[in-house]
């Protein structure tokens, strides 16, 4: 089994009640493969933190996301699947993939 982060990129908006229902449905249908995850508030709520000069340096915070983009990280799942084909099948059912896209990244063992 391999673990994947399924990173959901969509338009930068708050989810509607309708998308909430769709995600609930996805969660129920794929409970066996979902190891974790969360939806995110829009990037207008984001704060970006950077430590300048490396460890122990100055903490600099900026209002907003790391980078402005048309599609932004809107949520993620941690999935477990036998192989990439199975992970793709699951990712294709994430509502965010229907209008936006889902990036699958294998996770590092830590």
């Amino acid at each position: 089994m391999t673990q994947y982060a399924a990173l959901i990129y969509t338009a930068d908006t708050s989810p509607t009640a309708e998308t909430g229902t769709l995600y609930e449905e996805f969660g129920t249908n794929n409970a066996a493969s979902i190891r974790g995850g969360a939806g995110l508030h829009p990037t207008s709520t984001a704060t970006t933190v950077r430590v300048e000069g490396g460890r122990g340096g100055d903490v600099v915070t900026t209002d907003g996301p790391f980078a402005e983009a048309r599609e932004v990280l809107a949520g993620f799942y941690l999935l477990e699947a036998a192989d990439l084909d199975e992970a793709v099948t699951i990712a294709a059912q994430i509502p965010g993939a229907w209008g936006g896209s889902v990036e699958l990244r294998p996770t590092l063992d830590m």
Binding site: T2, A82, D83, L84, D85, A87, L104, P106
Partner: protein
Amino acid sequence: MTEASSALAETVRDEGRRVLATLIRTTGSVTLAEDAVQEAVVEALEHWPVEGTPDNPRAWLTTVARRKAVDMIRRDAHRTDKEAAAMDLTGPAPDLPESVVRDDLLRLVFTCCHPSLSHASQTTLSLNTLCGLRVADCARLMLTTEAAMARRLGRIKHKIAVAGIPYRIPSDAELPERLDAVGSTVYLMFTAGIAGEAVRAELCDEAIRLGRLLVDLMPDESSLQGLLALMLLTDARRTTRTDVSGDLVLLADQDRTQWDGALVAEGLGLVETALTRSRHRAGRFELQAAIAAAHASAASSADTDWADIVRLYDALLLVEPTDVVRLNRGVALGERDGPAAGLAAIDDLDGLGRFHLWHACRAELLVRLGRHDEARTAFDSAIACSPPAADLRHLERRIAAIR
């Protein structure tokens, strides 16, 4: 290379590929299996010329490759003997039935052409893993340096390992789409060879080799027969496509007596089988091969059955509705119904303004209609699209000819 040693190298390569496919399944690691088979192949090329080729070359290579794999696992401090035992590598090599070996090879084909890899990665990996080309040769064919190629292959194999790209034959439901990816990869490899400034013959040869392997592995797939036929019929014209100075010779002006008769015959036979088998559901490869066959079986350009070719393009448009196919159909129409009809069909296409062949085809039809000023303008537009050097020289000659 002498004939005997080249035949030996061929055997080692073919058998090595089969041994590799099985060892990948056993060890679950492309890299480990490749290193082990590579060492076994080196040993074979040292021993066989002296001691003679063993009765069962595959069994010999399998035994040596498995021993090498165990050695490698032992050398790797992170692994244990138990792993080698768990992989079932330590006992005597099992005598695998041909069907298992075939399926292992198929798994490898589908892994190399997995849709999560870019087309360039699929081609690169196929050359290295399926064709068994050394990194230096892959680099030469893909027009890059050996170091860059080694890095690229490393990245691809790393992705296969960590992203969990499966090593299996797709289910029946997935097969058509995945088979299409496999066919596209092989055909891209072939066209990359043809489109090269000097035809990169080896790239064409490797693509044909893979095409043969696929037909051999999946004898019921008409699309693969079509693909192989298309490559053979195109390849049969290889030497007549350019003249001694490397300039382009159009199909109509090629010396048909110089076409490779054996390749044409084999291609025509395959087209017939592919069309019979696919019946009314012929895909793009079967239809493109049928068009190539119509050209190949005409004694001269004037003898070509253009009505048949237009009909085949109509069928092709149903499965591949692109402007490039419409352009080719327009040219065929110009032969069947005269230049005015062809020009009207081509002028209807408005998405090809940046494609030099669209302008060039318009120009040729305008020449035939006696509209020389417009033809010159169209040739100039073709040149403005910065075509490949051989096409550019051809266009310049054509402009000079109508002055």
